[in-house]
Amino acid sequence: MAHSLLEKIKSGVLWDFPGGVHPPERKSMSITDSVDTLPLTDYYYVPLKQHIGVYSELRVKVGDKVKKGQALTFSNHNMAVPVHAPTSGEIIEIGEHVSSHASGIPEKTVTIKSDGLDESIELQPQSHFHTQSKESIIKALQEAGITGLGGAGFPTHVKQQAQDIEYLLINGVECEPYITADDMLMRNYADEIVHGIEVLAHLLEPKLVVIAIEDNKPEAIAALDEACKDKQQFIVRKIPTKYPAGGEKQLIQVLTGKQVPKGSPPAALGIVSQNVGTCYAIYKAIYTGEPLIERIVTITGENLDKPQNVWARIGTPVEHLLNTAGYHPEDINAQKLVMGGPMMGFNLHSAQVPVTKSTNCIIAPTQQELPPAPPEKACIRCSDCADACPASLLPQQLYWHSSAKEYDKAQDLNLFDCIECGACAFVCPSDIPLVQYYRQAKAEIRQAEVEQEKAEQAKKRFEARAERLEKEKEARLAKHKKAAENRKKAMQSDPSAQDKVAAALARVQAKKAEQTENNTDSAQSTVKSKAEQAIELAKAKRLAKQGETKTSEEFSNTNDNENASDNKSKAQAAIERAKAKRLAKQAAQAQAENTEADANITGAQNTTDAQSDTKADTKSVAKAAIERAKAKRLAKQAAQTQAENTEADANTTGAQNTTDAQPDTKSVAQAAIERAKAKRLAKQNAQAQAENTEADANTTGAQNTTDAQSDTKADTKSVAKAAIERAKAKPLAKEAQQIQTEHDEANASEPKLEENNDKSLQAASSASDTKAKAQAAIAKAKARRQQSDDNAEMNNATQATHEHVDISSDNKAKARAAIERAKARRQQAEQQTNEAASVEENDHDSEQKVRIKAAIAKAKAKREQGQ
């Protein structure tokens, strides 16, 4: 098959590509007898990257003297080709300069001030390339900075590394109107081109070399025919003039009838194609040793006096070319410069744009010559564009989808197979700038892809983190469960506990009786204080939110640190810190959602978690302390919010923290600080209570102190009463069990609650400090009332019972006592509210105001911190 194809090609068979257009050629304008060399100018601007591939590293610095042909960048990557000094002189700047790109976006450019001497480096020709290894020739091509001179600027040496090449196609088609650079090169330098092709053929060892030239360049065809007459393997093929026959893919189709498969290079078909200009550059590099520092550029257009082709050094500003050709714009206000041809070229932003390796033409047209595009009209679906498309796309449908930003549909219609040749826009009767729509769509799709990739990476990171956090949380929960069980066991083994309970029951009974007498209505005052509570709550929420924002920022930092650091203890501390914050945050949110009691307990609990975890790590005590302080602050926020809403919770937290802190012998000092904080908190809350409900804290405190003391003063009467209560409590407990099964969500708070109580009790009995006792007692009381505040108090109270029953049937009495106590507390609370009603209105208000003010101040402080 391949053999017959070879025969076909040899016999002169040509294929056609679909579509194509015949724009007015206007090539004769710039055809002259010879190609002059442009005189030197003062400044050259050499962009560092003039090829497709990677940036090459700079090897010179400002102030360096360079010689003509000296490499300015390294070629230390296969896809990097160096750029060279176009003349001798001094590097005066390495910085941004307007680029020779449609966008004109400045790019890194070396500015050379010419010294006028044009001194060259010592050249090292390799004219005996046949005797050298292919690697060294390929390296030489790379060192010479040779890229495709046809337009795309693909590094030539990369193409030459291809294996199993059957056809080497030499592209002398030059299908774009106006441009005659290749034509002039072929006419005047045919032998040199053939020498260059020989180098390529030596490297690739193709079966056949086809030099393709459009039939509108008979002189060029004749010149190459002459130069190739001794070469058996070389065929000069005249192809029909049709734009864009010079496109690599189209040329391959014309010469071989094959289409380059999507996503593959032509080498996949055993084909390599090179531009004639590239062949000349290869000749120069191998035969004379001169790197690619100049090329032929067509300067044409009716605004020029002398349209022509010149040898221009790479880096020459366009202005210099224009001046040489005699630029006299007919209309100073409507000047337009095109770099490249009229079909695919782009407008220049500035005449300071330098000539690059890919620059083949500068057009300075008059208004009539290349008139500005008329305003776009409606697409009439004539599909002339489809008929013109060399890639067999459906340009008008691409246009519909691109302009409607339906990029997925545009991609389905193979938007990315568009070579932007401009044939569709050329034929469009409605003057729609189709290519512009495609470019925009492509750019936006690429942008979206980049963003999507980023998002996916972020998602992966996030998931990995969430998983890790979840594991850590589970581990922590397991640890705490164990600790709680240990405590329960300790409680059970303490015989004094039962007595205490009995005593407490008795007291409760007494209180109850007292309360019933004092029970008066106080709706008015309650309503008022409720409103104020609502305000407080709102403020607290805002505070919590601010805290949230801050913590999330801190959290991400923490996460980074954690990744970076190899210090395990630090990392752990950081994790704990972050968790504590997050959980505290959750707590705050949860409060906001009016599941106050549960959330707060969780928050408090987790704060404690964070503490104990960090404490366990002796290496990071200092850090842990800071973290604890932060956690405290958050807990405090939460506590305050709660306190303002339901008073009791904060104390629980405080007390709990205290209790937690105490057993830790290693950080006694810190514990003391914690205690102090907790106390202050407790005090604050106590005050708040006092203001609101007249010495609630004191009463409760006193009562609980008695609780603690009553271990030694066993009252027989109370024992009897306790028995009665026990009897009463039994059916209640049963009921509670039922309710509990119906209220699963309540379960979560149970163990914690109990834990709180246990801790408080422990604290009360063990601490010698009476104040601490009192606090613990308060905490206990608060925890109870918190329970009762939480929607179904009965349920909660009996939950405790249930819990106790679960643990040990011996402790039933204790549990019942607890229920009774809880009831008593509730009634007491009601009573307190009643008492609050009796407080004078003014006094009450002013107190509230003070509190509100304090809260505002606090909120402000928090926000500042947050910011």
Binding site: P261, P342, A378, D387, L413
Partner: protein, 353 residues
């Protein structure tokens, strides 16, 4: 120095939409001239009326849509739609028929869908169908060819009839189109349809004086004139060959197929091809780029589909001619046709689906 910036390409073919539309209109001239010759000046009056209304409607619609009026009027699309609609109207149809049809075609069929290029249906045909359904009497009262008519109609008479319903002598349209016996003279396709329904064979029907051994006096000549205009458009590449060829081939194919099954109850092929709006449809109506298929393969399918619909409706449907309905039906299939007839893109091994 500051430079003007524009996107490539910087050069354009000088073939503008307005010119395309104009050329299509010019290619109608032989057909219109023949129509005037056989059916009187009424045709020209309808064309003028429709074009005037179309331009006004277009201008108002553009104004309402905040589009530059002159810029879009320049594309000549409204005038062309109106022209094609006017050609299809009976020459003596009342003025308000033409007006309503044109307004509907421009305002509703075109602009309501987003203006030129966005309309799903062919405006002229949609306008025609609306008129046919709404005013069946006026729309089916075709004047017989001038040689068959009993009265001489001057241009004044025509104007009077169009704008008042009566000639200067007071004849109404139904009187004008009646034959000597007082029966309404039908169009050839009408005659074929009623004849076959009444049990005549196609040969018997064609023996009538209406046909004069052809496919109906006037009608055949008009069709040939439009064919000539169409060939001009093909030659100048203002239209593509796929649709006319596949349409005519498809109509012929189905006609021959049916004749093979039942010769006597199907009108012969030449009647189908040279009667009614066949040639006008093939070259001027189906080739409306906006509402036709946009791929080359799709155009073949589209033309064939219309050919089938035309034959089916003419043979079994309730209307004697069927181009308008067939076109609208095929218009609805266009997105589907386009989707399944995408060309294989360069370098792809198979067609994208």
């Amino acid at each position: 120095m500051s430079f003007k910036l524009a996107s490539s390409p910087h050069t354009r073919k000088n073939n503008k939409t307005g010119n395309v539309m104009l050329q299509v209109g010019i290619a109608c001239i032989p057909g219109i001239a023949t129509q005037v010759y056989y059916f009187g000046m009424g045709v020209l009056i309808q064309i003028l009326l429709c074009c005037l209304v179309a331009v006004l409607t277009e201008a108002i619609c553009l104004k309402l849509r905040n589009r530059p009026i002159k810029h879009y009027l320049d594309d000549n699309s409204a005038v062309l739609s109106a022209l094609l609609l006017a050609i299809c109207l009976p020459p003596l149809a009342p003025w308000w028929v033409a007006t309503i049809g044109t307004i509907f075609a421009i305002a509703l069929v075109k602009h309501a869908f987003g203006g030129l290029g966005q309309n799903i249906f062919n405006p002229a045909m949609a306008g025609y169908v609306v008129l046919l359904i709404s005013f069946p009497l006026s729309m089916t009262s075709w004047l017989p060819a001038a040689s068959l008519i009993q009265y001489d109609l001057s241009i004044t008479d025509t104007l009077y009839t169009i704008f008042t319903g009566y000639t200067t002598q007071g004849y109404s349209v139904s009187q004008l189109i009646a034959d000597i016996d007082g029966f309404t003279m039908a169009t050839p396709l009408d005659a074929v349809k009623t004849g076959i329904t009444a049990g005549y064979t196609s040969d018997e029907i064609l023996a009538g004086n209406l046909f004069d051994n052809g496919s109906g006096i006037g009608w055949m000549q008009v069709n040939i004139a439009y064919l000539l205009g169409g060939l001009y458009l093909l030659k100048t590449k203002f239209i593509k060959w796929q649709i006319p060829v596949s349409f005519i081939a498809s109509l012929t194919f189905f006609c021959l197929l049916a004749q093979g099954v039942s010769t006597d109850t199907v009108a012969p092929v030449w009647i189908h091809l040279t009667s009614g709006a066949t040639m006008l449809a093939a070259f001027f109506i189906l080739t409306d780029p906006v509402s036709a298929s946009t791929t080359n393969k799709g155009r073949l399918v589209y033309g064939a589909l219309v050919g089938f619909f035309v034959f089916a409706i003419r043979t079994w449907g309730g209307y004697p001619d069927a181009v308008a309905f067939a076109v609208l039906l095929a218009n609805m299939c266009v997105p589907l046709i386009d989707y399944y007839t995408q060309p294989r893109v360069y370098g792809h091994t198979e067609v994208n689906k």
